[in-house]
Amino acid sequence: MDFKDYYKTLGLERGASEDEVRKAYRKLARKYHPDVSKEPDAEQRMRDVNEANDVLRDKEKRAAYDQLADHVARGGNPDGSFQPPPNWDEGFEFHRGPNQGPADHADFSEFFSSMFGAAERRGAERRNYRARGEDHHAAIEIALEDALNGAEREISLRSQEIDAQGRPEWKTRTLSVKIPPGVHPGQFIRLAGQGMPGHGGEAPGDLYLEVRIAPHKLYRVEDRDLYMTLPITPTEGALGAQVKVPTPGGGVVEVTVPRNARNGLKLRLKERGLPGKPPGHLYLLLEIALPPADTDAARAAYEQLAKAAPFDPRRHLGV
């Protein structure tokens, strides 16, 4: 396990004030927001920034973390790996902040889960209350074919549990999850009773899996609709044609390309997208591909075409 330098993540010095932490966090949260960021690793950076903020803005967690950072600065482990000293969090009690739920920590690092996740739960148990276990959040990425036809997939979940001596230990659970046909991105699959254990004899929480669909070599998924680029020749575009198209279900359909079809024209195959109520559509985006002029015959044919159909695509430029 690697030690995480939360101050570096937020671009702060060790003695930064609460206000400086808040300002640095908000600036970076805007910079790496997935809807506006142009950074290629925005999602990972956002997770790091959220995690650093979670610890540094909380007085108790920050004090305990500073103590740990001192231990690391004094040399830590000789092999460079990080192991927390025993009872490192003695005297501290961690809580989740207001407005925070189980989903907020779902993507945090192993370092965070080992240090603060388990301690938060121990704190909850020490407070000795009865409550249903927290719901757990994770994402599942499936192939488009699995979304179409449904599938059974095994997922492995690593989570920390507290052993009989009150020490945290990593447990790996493998669950066999039924993916119903017709799931689409952004939907949630709920697995009853697979969340965190309950407190004081109460029931465990549930596990929510957010569905993501892996990039496909032919089709792009938007909600329930599918998009595919369909290359056609200039001849097919000009004269119209019947072309064969593979459908996501594994079949082949014949599609009519209309006469004088322009580049980028969108053809809709009704209800050939992801199943559902209503089902999605399959859209074909026409892309005119030029035959290469790499033989005398092909060059002559292009020249003949230029003579037979004089055409200036730049007329509107006025030069």
Partner: protein, 107 residues
Amino acid sequence: MASVSITTATLTSSHPLAASELAHACGAEVEWVVQLVQVGIIESRTPAERPDDWRFHGGDLQSALEARRLERDFGIGLDAAALVLDLEHEVRRLKALLRAQGLGREI
């Protein structure tokens, strides 16, 4: 490492979430879900007066989790979060539209 087979349900009209379940999934109270409905961030899929009778789908869970993050990340109120979410959804819709027209590669 044992493999366990378990019941799964997709959060749609046949398996919706009650207000208390939605609240629990977000680590919040039902009162917070009521506020989300009041500002229009989510809406019950079954017309009902009492929060106990409200039912929500996966899209509502996604919106609720995003609203939770906005509250936490920027300390904003739910009215402002509703506006940010509307704008986020509009940006995503427009980006999807551009991609659908084959124009989105450079975005």
